[in-house]
Amino acid sequence: MPANEEAPSTVQDGRERKQQVTTVADRRIEDANLRRAVAKLDTDKIANVVMAVLEGEVGAKLKMYNQACVRCGLCSKACHYYVSHDGDPSYSPVGKATQTIWKLMRQKGRVRPDELYDMAQIAYTECNLCRRCVHYCPTGIDTGYIISVMRRILFKLGVTPLYITDTANSHSGTFNQMWVKEDEWIDSLQWQEDEARDEFPNLRIPLEKEGADILYSVIAPEPKFRTQLIYQAAAIFHVAGVDWTMCATPGWDNSDMAMFLGDSETMGRLKRMHFETAQRLRVKRIVMGECGHAFRSVYDTGNRWLGWRDHPVPVIHSVEFFWDLLESGKIKIDHKLDETVTIHDPCNIVRGRGLTEKLREVTRAICRDVVEMEPHGEHNYCCAAGGGVINCGPPFKSVRMAGNRIKADQLRATGVKTVIAPCHNCHGGLEDIINHYGLGMHLKFLGDIIYECMEKPDAV
């Protein structure tokens, strides 16, 4: 679909336009579950739950943020939604906090159900929890945390968008996000092993191998509709001679939409299962596929909910693992990818794990030519899919498209055709942006390129 013809196609053009102040009422999107949930609420019920969370769950951090925030507005320019909407202040980080949690704190939770609908639209679809605004706030306020508290309140009130709620229900019922049954999971792995043995006759996808060096975990969309990624990972591990295993039981899916919904209880169950599976198999460490949000959940969030300061089993992201394999010479590159690429830095592994340099070193090792986006690294703009926003489903796709015009500008300005993004959410988000704005680019995972370009000594 081409870009909306009435809107300027770049943010630069839009600088001429007057700043508009809109409200969520001007852009309200119908969502069946939000509508159903607010119909059951009244002000008293809302106030009870709000105060239970504010007084019982969260503490000094939120209170200090409220005091330390001097409402200076410096964070505004950090946010891709704000920038893409020509400086509409209702999209700025502090603007979003003002319309949601600051309001609840000031009014002691006494708001009307329809106000809560609007707060849900802001909290679930107009903030990706990417934390870019941290780089703008002199007092160090984490708006991602503030919006997460808002989501926690909304979750407890049942005011959650339909699609992401269904995904979290799948997590709760099956320990994976796509209702994949246990036998389907195992079948998918065996199918990929079969396929890969045509290329590497001795390749195995080890299942339930106790004492292996690593447990490789992925997100459920991989067996569901991106099975080639499992093939590629298996090929890379095979060539590198990695002692690895996958598990045949629930616990194989490291993803976590419950975290983004505000369902901390389910998040805790998922992460416990994931870590306990690794412990049961007595692996030395967990390597996670090229996904950002899952990494945030396992590395930064779920462990805290479970009361673990550190991880019972060390966790590393694929980018770091690939870096290790290339650095140690276990994977050798036969030929570099013969096209110019650009790198999209996923928030959860760059701002969330400092993999900026390793991502570049891996990319340079496998690609002939790299053009950087501006800004990049920790300062990169978000894909607008993360934080559970893409998981709120088709009703909210337009929010991501209109809200990330700046990303389209940033991508277009590189002039390249290939974008590397080592994160599933970023892939989904950028693919939509590329199609919507007619950028004619395509996306790759690092695994795609390593598989394509590595030496394969025993391949037939």
């Binding site: 700043q19 209170k63 001097v70 507005g73 202040p89 003002t98 306020i141 984490d142 930064d300 400092g354």
Partner: protein, 219 residues
């Protein structure tokens, strides 16, 4: 008027200092206690080194992304805070107070510099006020509290300057200067001026998270 002045510079000043100190220590104590009770999963990652790393980076003008992209505000913020703190502590008229009240002989700013600092604080407050009035994204989030603290910061410096130069009714200016200065002290723990107490902590915290957990820069 003399009696009022005598009261404000006598018992009034001691009350203001007491409220400021007890209030600030009290607020910090209760919030830290609450943090221990509820925010253990955040406190666990506090690190002195990374706290300092973050604070130092943000103390460098134009040293961070946020500062770089808002140059005018950055300049005003640094000038305002430096002049406010140094001015309040070290103008020559206050050196006399340090000496008479606490027996401390402290260094003081040359008078012309003190004047310049006072005017700079007032000018910065006018700049902040203009932002609140004319910048859409700032106006949108401005609350009455933000106007209040702006006034609380500006009035002591404006009246101090006027009194020193005998501009306007001197006695009234002197009384207003002392009164507004004491209000500023009292306001530190109980209004959003409390960011003076909390911002170092929130900065240290995010610095620790970005350093010790996320291994990324937060500037």
């Amino acid at each position: 008027m003399r009696d009022v002045y005598a009261f404000l510079t006598g018992p009034g000043a001691w009350v203001a200092w007491a409220v400021f100190l007890v209030g600030s220590i009290g607020r910090l104590f209760f919030l830290c206690r609450l943090a221990k009770a509820r925010d253990a999963s955040s406190l666990a990652y506090m690190s002195a080194g990374y706290s300092l790393r973050s604070i130092l980076h943000w103390l460098i003008p134009f040293g961070t992304l946020g500062w770089k992209e808002n140059p005018a505000m950055t300049a005003a913020t640094f000038v305002f805070h430096v002049c406010l703190v140094l001015g309040a502590l070290f103008v020559s008229a206050h050196a006399v107070l340090w000496s008479s009240a606490f027996g401390l002989d402290i260094w003081s700013l040359p008078e012309a510099v003190g004047d310049a600092f006072s005017l700079a604080v007032v000018a910065c407050c006018l700049f902040f006020a203009a932002r609140r009035l004319f910048l859409v994204e700032v106006r949108y989030v401005t609350t009455p509290m933000d106007w209040l603290i702006l006034a609380i910061a500006a009035v002591p410096f404006a009246t101090g300057f006027l009194a020193r130069h005998h501009l306007g009714p001197y006695e009234l200016m002197a009384v207003l200067h002392v009164l507004s200065g004491e209000i500023l002290l009292i306001a530190i723990p109980f209004t959003r001026v409390s960011h003076a107490l909390f911002a170092p902590l929130t900065r240290a915290y995010i610095g620790s998270e970005f350093g010790a957990v996320r291994h990324a820069k937060d500037w």
